[in-house]
């Protein structure tokens, strides 16, 4: 009997806790880690795509290498903010939205388009113009290697070694 009274008192003291949501909004606390948004400061360097543990980010070369697209999928994202940690441009902003349900899957994808940088030797797209110019800005000028794709850079290194070799071996 005593026990039941205690429980009743506790229940009365607690009162009613149910919120009138969704008839009234119930915003998440400011500290809530919601999905990231990618700002225009992005240079398309791809650091975030490498860091992302969930495979929510991709950097793809589309339309015959004429455009580079950074794509973020909220459906895959686990809201860990590693992308924000590694971004050199502070181009990732955390949001506190949580009502993400939608009947239009396109709303779950954010795209940023970049102009690609083409390799000075072979012409293939290998980075974005903004990433190259940012890199040049950071080291005080364009360096030869910045204008070449990783493949051509490797070839160049190999041929430097080959041409300086004295005697022996093939070609």
């Amino acid at each position: 009997m005593v026990g039941r009274l205690t429980a009743l008192l506790a229940a009365l003291r607690t009162g009613r806790l149910t919120l009138p949501y969704p008839y009234q909004p119930a915003p998440a606390p400011r500290s809530y880690r919601g999905p990231p948004v990618f700002l225009d400061d992005c240079i398309g360097c791809g650091a975030c795509t490498y860091a992302c543990p969930a495979g929510a980010l991709s950097l793809r070369y589309l339309a015959g290498d004429d455009v580079v697209v950074l794509e973020h999928s909220v459906a895959r994202c686990i809201f860990c903010m590693l992308c924000a940690d590694v971004c050199p441009m502070e181009a990732v902003r955390r949001t506190s939205v949580y009502e993400l349900a939608t009947d239009n899957p396109a709303e779950l994808v954010q795209r940023l388009e970049h102009r690609p940088a083409h390799c000075a030797d072979c012409g293939a797209a290998y980075s974005t113009l903004r990433a190259v110019s940012e890199a040049a800005g950071r080291v005080g000028g364009i360096q030869r290697y910045m204008l070449r794709c990783p493949g051509c850079r490797a070839v160049e290194v190999a041929s430097v070694i080959a041409s300086s070799r004295r005697g022996g071996g093939l070609a």
């Binding site: 005593v2 506790a10 607690t14 806790l17 543990p53 686990i78 860990c80 903010m81 590693l82 955390r94």
Partner: protein, 531 residues
């Protein structure tokens, strides 16, 4: 706890067990190599009369490195503050079963799992059929081998199995906790006479996934998702194992922050468990009231880390949050007050005689069984086993914090209920100490080099008991092996002993009293291939 000088007794112990090739590494883990026969003999001797007991076993495929599989038996020696690993190289794909010698549950399960996943035979092992994999899984496909085909096999439709006798099905979805597990109770009238358990319905190979697709510094985020309640334990334990493997010093402040989040997690986990026990006993008023108070703890976690449960706060080398002192103080105060309020409420619910009688004297687990079969955490401590990783093998900031380890002797549901409440109060006191003494400084150390093929093992006291992660680093920043042993893995098989002799109606209460986490045990994770 550690009165005899540890060095001497450890050496004596290893001599007694006949282990010669041993080296001690960071974190108090002693790695010993042994041949098959010698290793099993040593393991049997260690488990029987040394104050140590087998906590789990695991395997890894090292054929590409040294030509063999390895089976590792992990022993917890609480009085020495050490773990002893007996690492046996298996060259001819089968060894003698230790479970056949010890006849204990934890050993039966872990060897059985290795047989399923690696195809290593254990001569004399008592298990028939499959433990982890579906019954219709092909015999020659061992998913955790390094050369396993990347496509899953086509499964036959399982043959309909005839129940062996009059079994009462409990599950697969709803006894006590709403998770996939299945108990078949053999009953005589209302009494349970025997229990058969089938779980692992949601085993998805999370360890394999990490080895194949994740870099070591990304794994904490996967580890955190092993459990829907105590995820931070898993990410912390993984990080500690990895930190030991490659030799990373973690800053003091990060250790305190880890301990703080771990205790917050313990509080909300224990409150959930007590609430669910009340629910299983049919007392939903209690359930609702406790869950309402627990909500405060969840909000504090959200303010500290950005999420109620998935904190994403760990990274190898430290943590990713750095709350200022006033926030820490306020958070700790709010959590402690909620904890105290909840404990008072939960104790008062026992005055309701219907609740009390549903818990008292029900589901008793004896002390000897609890020790031998490897019971962990509150289940062990409510049966008189005085173990707690935080005290016996200090990690994070626990070495510098003072706390009691509550132990009770009754071993019934009531003892497990009350013990958790005592632990909640201890956690609150730990939190207050942290708020008073947390040092200033950096929260993460990123100054380390990846090292290949190194072993690291870490243990932590999760809300449900000792959680073990075992890591072998691989090449190009990935892991060679990652093994997760959650506490419920040891506690669930003990339900067989706890359910026997009690009423069918008690089964949900008993099951919820061990606070089983089936997703930890099964290591569930939902994944889809990325394009």
């Amino acid at each position: 706890m550690r009165d005899p000088p540890p060095g001497e007794t450890l050496a004596a112990l290893l001599r007694l067990a006949g282990l010669r090739d041993c080296r001690e590494e960071g974190g108090g883990v002693v790695y010993c190599r042994a041949g098959a026969g010698e290793g099993i003999r040593a393991a049997a001797r260690l488990h029987e009369d040394s104050g140590c007991r087998l906590t789990t076993c695991l395997a890894y495929d090292y054929r590409l490195v040294d030509g063999s599989f390895h089976v590792v038996y992990v022993f917890d020696c609480p009085r020495l503050g050490r773990y002893i690993d007996i690492d046996i190289a298996v060259s001819d794909s089968s060894i003698d079963s230790l479970a056949a010698v010890l006849e204990t549950m934890q050993c039966k399960w872990c060897e059985w799992e290795i047989r399923d996943l690696y195809g290593i035979g254990f001569r004399g092992h008592p298990g028939r059929g499959r433990l982890v994999l579906p019954d219709s899984w092909p015999e020659d496909y061992h998913p955790l081998r390094k050369d396993a085909p990347s496509r899953p096999p086509r499964l036959e439709r399982p043959a309909r199995r005839r129940a062996r006798g009059p079994g009462l099905p409990l599950g697969p979805y709803h006894p006590a906790l709403h998770e996939p597990e299945y108990f078949e109770l053999e009953v005589e009238g209302e009494r349970v006479k025997g229990v058969r358990y089938r779980g692992f319905f949601v085993y998805r190979g999370i360890e394999k996934l990490a080895e194949d697709r994740f870099r070591a510094e990304q794994v904490p985020f996967l580890a955190e998702r092993i459990c829907g309640i105590c995820g931070f334990v898993h990410s912390t334990t993984y990080c500690m194992a990895f930190e030991r493997a490659v030799g990373i010093e973690v800053p003091e402040r990060a250790k305190y922050l880890r301990s703080m989040l771990l205790e917050i997690e313990r509080i909300h986990s224990h409150l959930l468990c007590t609430a669910v026990m009340l629910h299983a006993a049919g007392y939903d008023t209690g359930f609702m009231q406790l869950m309402a108070v627990r909500e405060e703890v969840m909000s504090v976690a959200e303010e500290l880390t950005g999420n109620r449960k998935t904190y994403s706060a760990n990274t190898p080398g430290g943590v990713r949050i750095d709350p200022d002192d006033s926030l820490v103080r306020e958070a700790v105060e709010r959590v402690s007050r909620a904890a105290e309020k909840a404990v008072k409420l939960a104790r008062s619910f026992l005055e309701v005689s219907e609740v009390y009688t549903r818990l008292e004297g029900v589901g008793v687990l004896g002390r000897r069984d609890a020790w031998r079969h490897g019971a962990l955490g509150p289940v062990a401590r409510a049966s008189g086993i005085d173990v707690d990783v935080r005290r016996d093998h200090p990690y994070a900031a626990y070495g510098s914090l003072e706390f009691e380890v509550p132990v009770r002797d009754e071993g019934d549901c009531l003892a497990r209920y009350l013990l958790r409440l005592d632990e909640v109060l201890e956690s609150a006191s730990i939190l207050r100490q942290i708020a008073r003494s947390i040092p200033r400084g950096p929260v993460v150390n990123r100054d380390y080099d990846y090292a290949e093929l190194r072993v690291g093992q870490a243990a932590s006291e999760a809300p449900r008991g000792e959680c073990i992660h075992y890591v072998i680093t691989g090449v190009s920043g990935r892991l060679w092996r990652w093994k997760v042993r959650a506490p419920s893995y040891n506690n669930i098989p003990l339900l067989e002993l706890m359910l026997k002799g009690y009423l069918v109606a008690d089964a949900p209460v008993i099951i919820s009293s061990i606070d089983p986490c089936f997703s930890c045990t099964d290591r569930l994770i939902r994944v889809k291939r990325v394009g």
